[in-house]
């Protein structure tokens, strides 16, 4: 499939625009010198991802992503940032001094994974795009075939909730002395 063929499809244009946006904002998430900005860039990334999900006809997941992530998690993050009084604004010390290694490693990882993706699924067409997955199917699937993992996840969530409260409670501070042997 040539580039012109690919470009002749309108959804691909949409994907291109959204994908570049996602990639760009994701890049800013990990490079921004401002904690709040980083969090907001993550919002953009996630929003882009939601659009992508819509393109891939996964509406339900897309809305879950928007609601849970953008609605809850990011808010949590912002709270965390506020509470830890991370400097809101430019802060050069947000990165450590091993960015080079990190860049090389992640670059290599990226090359490897994209090579693998292209090599194995290079021209795999995506069928049925735009048809949409019925929420009913998802519901049946989750509460039918996957009910057990679902229950476990709910437990994990509960445990995380309780754990988070326990850990962050003010009076549950660890012993003052760390003189242990």
């Amino acid at each position: 499939m040539s580039l012109s063929d690919w470009l002749s499809e309108p959804t691909n244009w949409v994907f291109l625009v959204v994908g570049l946006g996602v990639a760009g904002s994701a890049f800013r998430v990990v490079t921004s010198k401002n904690v709040v900005h980083a969090a907001l860039y993550l919002v953009a990334t996630l929003g882009g991802t939601a659009v992508l999900f819509l393109l891939l006809s996964a509406e339900f997941v897309a809305w879950v992503l928007v609601l849970v992530y953008i609605g809850a998690v990011i808010v949590l993050f912002l709270f965390g940032i506020m509470i830890t009084r991370a400097p809101i604004g430019y802060d050069a010390s947000l990165d450590n001094n091993r960015r080079g290694i990190a860049a090389v490693v992640s670059g290599a990882l990226f090359l490897l994974m994209s090579w693998a993706a292209i090599d194995f699924f290079g021209s795999e067409p995506l069928q049925g795009i735009g048809e949409g997955t019925s929420t009913e199917l998802l519901g049946e699937s989750i509460l039918g075939r996957f009910v057990f993992p679902f229950e476990i996840v709910s437990f994990v969530l509960l445990a995380a909730l309780i754990g988070g409260i326990t850990v962050a409670r003010k009076d549950a501070t660890p012993a003052e002395s760390e003189e242990g042997v």
């Binding site: 996964a58 997941v61 965390g80 947000l94 992640s106 994974m113 993706a117 995506l126 996957f146 995380a160």
Partner: protein, 101 residues
């Protein structure tokens, strides 16, 4: 629309996540990077689901699970960061050193 570009995008997000994980000092930012990586996984799941057209929509189901777990992880992770910050007045990963022998 083909699969490969989506996968490449996911790989890019994952790699950026790894970069953030390795290069960031602030614990909150490290958590953000982890979110990026999880998100890349989600994209993969959904994309493969779109390719395979599974009758159970397994990919999407698992994407939802991942989102749930990610939420849990963020919750507990931030709680820890908070706690450490309260005791140590820093959220920098390389200054966490709670135990001495």
């Amino acid at each position: 629309m083909t699969l490969a570009p989506v996968l490449v995008l996911a790989a890019l997000l994952f790699s950026l996540g790894v970069y953030g994980l390795l290069a960031r000092r602030n614990a909150v930012l490290v958590l953000l990077a982890i979110e990026l990586m999880l998100n890349a996984v989600n994209i993969n799941l959904v994309a493969f689901e779109a390719m395979l057209q599974d009758s159970l929509a397994t990919g999407q189901v698992f994407a939802i699970f991942v989102i749930t777990v990610a939420a849990a992880e963020v919750g507990i992770g931030l709680a820890i960061v908070l706690l450490i910050f309260r005791n140590r007045a820093t959220a920098n990963v390389d200054e966490f050193s709670l135990m001495k022998w």
